[in-house]
């Protein structure tokens, strides 16, 4: 055993705050792994994904929950997707790579991103203040996904429920990201 021990301190760990009409919460132990489909090996990769997760990769700009609800698949581009799942250990990439049996390239993205879930009846009003994407029901349905910017920060936005959205942004600017969302929620609540 090593005489030294490392402690995990993800940004925004444990953040969970309710405001009038909306709540903000940083989900715990969220692991993200990117999947890249090899050029010419797309069919094999799709098959491997289906075999591993029990469902096909959704269309670009869409996400889906896997049938056993153990993970979300986020299709970010033609050849790129994220697997998002609960996993505390720092070896999420290995887990996904093993599941896909080498049919796709995988990169650990867990610590690249920080996630915030925003929910409640005023959540959409709060997002209106920072999100240039149209979040109307007709334009952004549940499991719709988009990459955009909010307050100069790159953000992936995913609608997870009627009044709930999951936002992912760079972990190094987590405090600015949180400030942007807290300010929005306070301004509308």
């Amino acid at each position: 055993m090593s005489e030294f021990h490392l402690t995990a301190e993800p940004p925004l760990a444990g953040y969970d705050k309710a405001f009038a009409g909306a709540s903000l919460k940083a989900p715990a132990d969220l692991a993200l792994v990117s999947i890249a489909l090899p050029l010419g090996g797309e069919d094999a990769a799709h098959k491997a994904i289906k075999a591993a997760y029990g469902c096909a990769l959704p269309e670009v700009g869409k996400a889906c929950a896997t049938p056993r609800k153990t993970a979300h698949l986020l299709r970010l581009g033609v050849d790129q997707a994220f697997v998002v799942f609960e996993h505390a250990e720092p070896d999420a990439e290995r887990v996904v790579a093993e599941a896909l049996k080498g049919a796709a390239y995988t990169t650990d993205q867990t610590d690249v991103w920080v996630a915030l879930d925003i929910s409640g009846p005023k959540a959409r009003d709060a997002l209106e203040r920072i999100c240039p994407i149209d979040l109307h029901d007709d334009a952004f349905a549940i499991m719709d996904l988009a990459r955009t910017t909010m307050e100069h920060l790159g953000v992936i936005i995913l609608r997870t429920d009627e009044e709930r959205w999951r936002l992912l942004s760079a972990s190094s600017s987590a405090r600015s990201f949180l400030h942007a969302l807290e300010t929005s929620v306070k301004n509308v609540s």
């Binding site: 030294f4 402690t7 301190e9 890249a36 993205q109 920072i130 100069h152 400030h179």
Partner: protein, 979 residues
Amino acid sequence: MSRIEGGLIDRSQTFRFTFNGKPMQGHAGDTLASALIANGQKLVGRSFKYHRPRGIFTAGSEEPNALVELRGGAHQEPNTRATVTELFDGLSAKSQNHRGPLEYDLMAMTDFAAPFLSAGFYYKTFMWPKAFWEKVYEPAIRASAGLGRLSMQEDPDIYDKGFLHCDLLVIGAGPAGLQAALTAGRAGARVILADEDFLPGGRLNAETLEVDGMAGHAWAAQAVAELSAMGNVRMMTRTTVYGAYDHGVYGALERCTDHLASSDGKPRQILWRLYSKRAVLAAGATERPIAFGNNDRPGVMMAGAVRSYVNRFGAAPGKRIAVFTNNDDGWRTAKDLHDNGLEVAAVIDSRDRSPLLDIPGARYIRGAGVRDTAGRKGISRITLTDDQMVDIDCMAVSGGWNPNVHLTCHQRGRPRWRDDLCAFVPGGTLPAGMVVAGAANGALTLAAALAEGAAQAEAQLKDLGITPAAATLPRAEDEPGEAAAFWHVKESAKRAWVDLQNDVTVKDIKLANQEGFRSVELLKRYTTMGMATDQGKTSNIAGLAILAEQAGKTIPEVGTTIFRPPYTPVPIGALGGRARGRDFRPYRLTPSHEWAKANGATFVEVGNWLRAQWYARPGEKGWRDSVDREVEMTRGSVGICDVTTLGKIDVQGRDAAAFLNKVYANGFAKLAVGKVRYGLMLREDGIAYDDGTTARLSENHYVMTTTTANAVLVFRRLEFARQCLWPNMDVHLISTTDGWAQFAVAGPNARNLLRKVVDEGFDLSNEAFPFMACGEVRVCGGTPARLFRISFSGELAYEIAVPARYGNSMMGVLMEAGKEYDAVPYGTEALGVMRIEKGHAAGNELNGQTTAHNLGMGRMVSQTKECIGNVLSQRPEMIRDDAIKLMGFKPVDPAKKLIAGSHFIASGNKATMANDEGWMTSVAYSPSLGHSIGLGFIKSGDTRKGEIVRAVSPVHGVEMDVEICSAHFIDPEGERLRV
């Protein structure tokens, strides 16, 4: 008091407010202007240039005169139009631009100097001597002119921004806008209806016209209620759409709490970006004045505004009123005044025609005009062109109506002149997706406005593939609206005001024309006509007409000045939004930020990053003490630096090696697994772009590092190369910059320290893990990590990366493990000193102007492969023998301090541009050598080692002799790296 019966104010709510400290009362639904009128306050301010007494002129956002300072303390806001300021309980307002009391302004003497203060006065007068421009003239002019005063305190209010989307944006909630919104709303389209007023309805609230058999304002209220109940319609009152931008994007300012005594911690205003698929502009029309002698006295008002005050606000601007008109609409003012029991002294029509309406008790004077007015602080008498005099206390003037075409011109659309209306209407190319309806489109009568609102909305819906619901138009009449082209009373000998806000008279415009300022754009700049808060909404057409008359042209030949956003003023606070102070822009923290903060780090902003610059220890007198110590301790034993900010790009794919070989100028095809290589990227034109290292972790998996500054740019460039240049390559990129906390561990004891942290089983010996080796390891009992044996400092060094969540902890662990070696944390300054000592190029050298040849890396650029930039890097001019070369420099007198940015001049030459031979890019005090050292580019530097040249900094007034030397000040053979 001048309150009369009727109006849309809520008399059950009484608000107390003050004007210049004088207590007054108004009601809910009043504007500050209507409340002032109701309180009999005619004089509300002083004019910009001549300090003439001025009163309320209009009832809308076009107001040129009634500018006031609102609120107090840090909340004080100058130049606010009383006509659009919603009254609230406790409002305090002050008049502007006077010395001493408003009634006895000391600066009013300026008015006596008027004969000398003609157009261009300042340009003609304050020319000599030049030394007086800024020190004497400008302060004096600024002190005497100008409008309100700023509080000079920080704005205590908060502001926000936001984004909204719709199928149809309807701008303006008058009859055309309401009908357009109803049409689209009923069809199920997503509609935003925005209006600058707090009470939607537009002129319907100010007129006595009926719609569908009910009072116009009642119909408007009913329409608003219907729209508000629709889930697909967003009603935005107190919201001005101020600009039309590309792709159906509009800017809008919502005034959320300006009508409240306190914002209560919520945003005062919101700047919205409206994304619309289509838009209907229903911005209405603005009434324009007629210029005549002394037409600026308080009590001279626009006829439509007089009607608004009487009909909407129950406030009478006068008791004995004359109407002067050149069109049919002016007559309605006379009628409404009479119907409200006010005395109409006279109706003066510039046209020679029989009376349009019967106004009992009024004298009717046809084919005439008003020549002059009298009355010291307010109008008391008018003199007509036939020398008749009429005693009055208010003068209602109507020169016809101008469609509000402003937003149609924001993308350089030019309005079109319509002779029948004597006005400009929208013309040319409108912003994409925009149509215009109602008065803004020249449909100046009620029935026409309603019909056009519906028709234009229907056309837009059809364009969007939405079927309009079948509907019948509300019933209304077309009121008479014939107008004559009559702009100013030529018989007036006295000054006749065209632009009240800027004190521009008919004479000024004539003078400008005489002096050659004949283009309308030049006229505007020479006379200032049409500038400031009202942007000439009431004055422009009269000004153009007078210019046209002088130049012997028609108004359309003269043309208009171009309208630009914003339509009405937008506070800087709203444009800034929430981007203030610490959160002006996003900031990025390194994983070890908390550790650094707790250990005395001073931080420096590097792009968005906050990085530890140095770690001061007690007793150190300045940053140099700390930096020198950090360098010495690192070179003496071991130092640790957080280098997470360097960009990291994960490169995977079967063609990753070939891809890297194309984006780097040096060879990458044969990098072995487990090895790192330095790489130089060129731009297409052969200039050095970025440098870094790339490690091969496995057959198809590489990790590239970039400079901190270029992390995003390099990633973008690689994505472009992958997707557009070589789409047939199997290469995949993803940024992992934030994912790994990376630390440089440098110094003779670096290996010893790492041995304590890296788990057993990983051989760190020089043989097993030599210079430029890399590998995946585990640290602290199983945590995955990446280890690279690379060195920026020139010492035996490693970079170790752990998942970012462990970064803060890792910094502590490294320091704890390094205790026995006296390990030191070092910041970016020590990092910089060590790289200069080692002669490594950084941003100062890779400045976008330099080539590999300049950097002494010319031979790295492969000519045996196809890669970005290698062809153009070989242009003759780029590889000249006498090109500048990166060299080291040391002062001949070791006590002297080199200055970055100094230029090199050969000994004996004059310090001129022609003799410039290069410049010093980076300097540092080298604790290792005990004197100042520098890097820089100098012509043919590689053949001039040992030569003494002069380093000249005219900015500092310093020059000194320096010796050209190798850029590698320490360990030139690189022995320390390889131990």
